[in-house]
Symmetry: C2
Subunit: 439 residues, 2 copies
Amino acid sequence: MEQVDTLIHARWLIPVEPDNTVLEHHSLAIKNGRIQAILATDEARRRYQGTVELDLDEHALIPGLINAHTHAAMSLFRGLADDLPLMEWLNNHIWPAEGAWVSPEFVHDGTQLAMAEMLRGGTTCFNDMYFFPDETARAVDAAQMRAAVGMILIDFPTAWASNAQEYIDKGLALHDHYKAHPLINTLFAPHAPYTVSDGPLEHMRMLADQLNIAVHMHVHETAFEVREAENKLGERPLARLEKLGLLTPQLLAVHMTQLSDDEIAACARAGVSVIHCPESNLKLASGFCPVHQLMSAGVNVALGTDGAASNNDLDMFSEMRTAALLAKAVAGDASALPAAAALRMATLNGAKALCIDDDTGSLQPGKSADITAVRLGDIETQPLYHPISQLVYATGRDKVSDVWVAGRHLLKQRALTSLNETELKAKAAAWQQKIRKYD
Amino acid sequence: MEQVDTLIHARWLIPVEPDNTVLEHHSLAIKNGRIQAILATDEARRRYQGTVELDLDEHALIPGLINAHTHAAMSLFRGLADDLPLMEWLNNHIWPAEGAWVSPEFVHDGTQLAMAEMLRGGTTCFNDMYFFPDETARAVDAAQMRAAVGMILIDFPTAWASNAQEYIDKGLALHDHYKAHPLINTLFAPHAPYTVSDGPLEHMRMLADQLNIAVHMHVHETAFEVREAENKLGERPLARLEKLGLLTPQLLAVHMTQLSDDEIAACARAGVSVIHCPESNLKLASGFCPVHQLMSAGVNVALGTDGAASNNDLDMFSEMRTAALLAKAVAGDASALPAAAALRMATLNGAKALCIDDDTGSLQPGKSADITAVRLGDIETQPLYHPISQLVYATGRDKVSDVWVAGRHLLKQRALTSLNETELKAKAAAWQQKIRKYD
């Protein structure tokens, strides 16, 4: 018998690769943070012994969910201002609040709160874009979660940096610092076409190409953005990005609600990844991303929650479900974005977008043990005909029981092990007291 | 000090009437199944003594949610068939399954499972349309939940009845049986314009008018339905219903995704209630109900989950959130359907549609004690700036801790008291075994 660190016996194991596959009564062995083996439980009990052994007999194991676009620290602004027209919301509420409160401490505490929520909801990896990314990375490292941290780039000065060169220099310092980190990547994160001018974008692109770093950007989020670019610059933002050499397989284009057929084809040819954020798009009335059309054209579409101020949760189960429902109505086709594809969107497609799909995004021997266990025995998920359908259409994130990242048991029967829940609630309450007085 | 049956002290009390109101540190006294008083906790502790007294110090009390359209027994078909074009889904999966399995026992067990799920999710009342409504009513009565049970009417024969006259006779017998029941109403439930011909509809309308019974019907659910009516009958279904005298304040028109400006105005003039089922509409690619436009025109819009085979849950928190998000995007206006209006849609508007708003739908002295308590102290709802926003945009149904219907404590710290969870899970598993073999 071979000794492994953790041996999990599950009622169902859904690897995502191969697609639409449900393995019944299967086990997963973890050794040195990686998936050692996946095999039938009968055989697993004969061949392996786990230092830790778990029987999850009403549970499904799935790859940890990947939140491919968020602003984690904005969890501290959850529900601060809602139901307002977009520009009023930004100009009168969000930007003033950020101006008043965003600091290293704010970003550290907000990121911790976000990670606590994400881990409790089965998310093992998130792709972040915010200020003080050094604080974000520090919090991620301490919590032992997986993340892609954005080296934010924006034309105007903020508390983080004063000019394009400083944004880029600080970003590169962060990149160097985490280059060898097994769980933390860095990506360039130029905010949006309307907040970053050509010079900085060109400079960033050269560095991105040289250093093989991906680029994470809000693109074509609203009709207003696209119209303004047409009026002021005579071209749509995607066309401008193409000219700047940014339409590549390293681009993570977030939102993309305004797309012509030609633009969809261009993205498919270029190998761009689209990060779909349905709940944010709906809440801010940004528009409807043509997900079915994008996927039919072969574009990699991943999933994100955006920030907690425009959602207002970081719930990837809900996001996955909303994506699967919305894509059908937008396409006028009830067979669009079926459950297995929605699950893949929330896992492997995110890993592909982040260029870490060798390492995570599906349950495969050799990959990192980034795993989420979900209870399927409660009233809400009875009767159970098709586990993948049930996970997408009828399972809330409260059914998540356990989460592993790189084989570490970060959520153990719904208890966080690398974050202090009591302390986080106290910190959140303290921030709420401070911020509410301001508002 | 006055003795009451139950005295609940809550951190927040959200009565829904008056609108958009949050009462902090307030208490609610229940006596003989009714709300005796709502007052500041300090005063409540001086004036009242409860046989049962509860301190819900991290909780909000809200009116019990009202699921204004469902097919409860279809919980047993949850996830049976998904991601299929509508007609294929109906013709090849749902209708054959119904033909094979729907029986008094099926309806009884399915309704029990549905009620268990609904109570656990804070729903205290549902409006049902299905076969064997006598079994539905019997199950509701035993569980002591509140419901409106549909006297289903359809042209073709089913296991329940053979012809229009029999559907109507059996319906009226049910109506008589439950006439004096404090928690169970009966409504006429002609399935849809394309499944019920003029003769039966006219007969039913006369009875509805004479006996002052409301009418619950799927109307303008899909573009296909409307086009077919235009082609075959030369008029849209709503026009036909108007001619039949059915556009009245007693009409609960479900779905209504295909509406012209004139039709919206006609519904507003007629006082029709629209029952909005966003997740079903999305999942079946039926279309987008113009909710903001309807509400702006003064139409009463309530909320429903539809059946668990096209959702796939009976989760009114999720439905409320989806409605609030979707309405904004459909209207192109991020200020459409704000949180307080979404909460009202899920409570009082449903009561108004069912003509029971004297009795329930808001927390008011004199009304039935139909109450849901929601925990707002967990990580997922921190920080908390605006309780109503938090309930709509960031609260999952798993945060529901307690539910009362007519003052009976039907969910006690998440445990069902009038339904046996273990037994229900066993029954659901038994049905799944039977049905899966068939499929």
